[in-house]
């Protein structure tokens, strides 16, 4: 599994950080997504949850 984020789409909702805090953070200034890491085994569900709840469809999961 590979995560791709689209910073231009991001609206800074922070839902990804709430779903997968090890994988995502938010920029201090504008709140846009920062991808911290690609998912390790066992983190796939959290990553999918983050993609699903993203209100801006800014996170893509590539299997």
């Amino acid at each position: 599994m590979h995560i791709k984020v689209d910073v231009e789409r991001c609206v800074g909702g922070g839902q990804c950080v709430l779903s997968a805090p090890r994988l995502f953070d938010q920029d201090d200034d504008d709140g846009t997504v920062i991808l911290l890491a690609q998912p390790e085994p066992g983190e796939e569900d959290d990553a999918r949850q983050a993609a699903r709840v993203c209100p801006a469809a800014a996170i893509e999961i590539i299997d």
């Binding site: 609206v11 800074g12 909702g13 839902q15 709430l18 709840v53 209100p55 469809a57």
Partner: protein, 408 residues
């Protein structure tokens, strides 16, 4: 309920964010039956929030809005039928699943039906919707038409002071259009309360929007078939080229009349989003009793579309998830990025920053002094901290110093 792995068929009516998410989630759960996605627009599922933002400004073209492609749907083995209206639902009887009838006469039998038909914009009573220059904004096609009417030298009247109207006004003004907002009361009050509503109205006024509050619209005036202006109940006339009616949206449930489902400002469901055996609702059209507040609620935000859809898909697969969302929405108006988690309430309190500085976090509390919602204005990370307080069930006594904004 369909047993995991069993062959069957799920029909999803509505091919927008909620409908698409149901289909994707069913496959993720390992559903191997047929999944059909029925949409009444000509477009593949697309994202609606940018319609009043990046699409309307021209920053994005339509291709950036699509949430999927035909190839991806084929990979998921989801059959999509576009430009098809569902016209009737038979919720079935013992041993027979729900049956959907489409406008082309097709009858689709199923094990489960998901109603994700969304909402349609409310129209002003007594107006001819066919007048050139009279707009509502819900679909991609609506947004593309409206975009062509904006620009320097053009005059637009926005009827409605909710966040769609305010976003349209901000985009129009930024593009040089002369903008008037007509709102029955203070803009945005229902969503953010009087204090933040007033600060947002001030932001618009500063940007050169004319704000007319408290006088109902009597008539949209037209010259043969083109909008010429708006006449208010007190006789005042505003000349314009374009009118946008943004006075809210109604759930698309007409096709369910006679289905036996309970319809009351949406499809009434239980808290698992089940409306009848094998019949679920997701997204804007669903109405259910929120276990936390005890209120019947319906939510029209983007994140709810996906979250409710995920619950529906899990429940079709035999889970029994109760849906208890913390709603989230955001709005972009000029330089203001507004974010909201939870629900507004009678009392608002300034927690961080200052509305005058256009950087603030506002907490909303109920009659017990406990948080119901949090709003951030250009305060992304602090708003997330406030959300954590909200989720933890904090009350005003737990959050440190606050300053009252709207009295409870």
């Amino acid at each position: 309920m369909t047993m995991p792995g069993a062959k069957g068929r799920v029909i999803v009516i509505g091919a927008s964010a909620a409908g698409l998410t149901v289909a994707q989630e069913l496959r993720r759960h390992g559903y191997t039956g047929e999944v059909q996605l029925i949409g009444d627009e000509e477009h593949l599922p697309y994202d609606r929030p940018p319609l009043s933002k990046q699409l309307l400004t021209g920053a994005w073209e339509a291709d950036r809005l699509y949430l999927t492609s035909r190839d991806r749907l084929a990979d998921l083995d989801v059959e999509v039928r576009l430009s098809k209206h569902a016209v009737a639902l038979d919720i079935g009887s013992t041993g027979v699943g729900p049956v959907v009838r489409l406008d082309d006469g097709t009858e689709l039998t199923s094990d489960s039906v998901v109603i994700a038909t969304g909402c349609s914009p409310r129209q002003l009573p007594g107006t001819k919707p066919a007048i050139t220059g009279l707009h509502t904004l819900r679909t991609l096609t609506d947004a593309q038409r409206l975009r062509d009417e904006l620009g320097t030298g053009r005059r637009i009247v926005v009827i409605g002071g909710g966040f769609l109207g305010m976003e349209v006004a901000a985009v129009a003004r930024t593009s040089g259009t002369q903008v008037t907002i007509i709102s029955p009361g203070q803009p945005m009050v229902g969503a953010v309360g009087p204090a933040v509503g007033a600060a947002l109205a001030e932001l618009h006024t500063e940007n050169g929007v004319r704000m007319l509050i408290g006088c109902p619209v009597e008539e949209i005036t037209a010259d043969t078939d083109r909008v010429t202006g708006v006449r208010l109940a007190d006789g005042y006339r505003i000349s314009c080229d374009t009118v946008v009616v943004a006075i809210g949206a109604s759930p698309n449930t007409d096709w369910l009349t006679g289905s036996g489902l309970r319809i009351d400002d949406g499809v009434l469901c239980d808290a698992t989003l089940l409306a009848a055996p094998g019949v679920y609702a997701a997204g804007d059209v669903a109405r259910w009793r929120d276990p936390r507040s005890g209120q019947l609620i319906r939510v029209e935000h983007r994140m709810h579309a996906a979250e409710s859809a995920a619950v529906v898909a899990a429940n079709i697969m035999g889970q029994d998830l109760v849906y208890v969302p913390v709603p989230f929405w955001w709005s972009d108006q000029y330089s203001a990025k507004i974010q909201f988690y939870g629900w507004p309430s009678v009392a608002a309190h300034l927690w961080q920053g200052d509305l005058a500085d256009r950087k603030a976090v506002v907490l909303y509390s109920n009659e017990n002094g406990c948080l119901t919602g949090v709003l951030g204005w250009n305060s992304i990370k602090a708003t997330r901290s406030a959300r954590e307080l909200l989720i933890a069930g904090a009350c005003l006594g737990d959050v440190g110093r606050t300053k009252p904004l709207d009295a409870g």
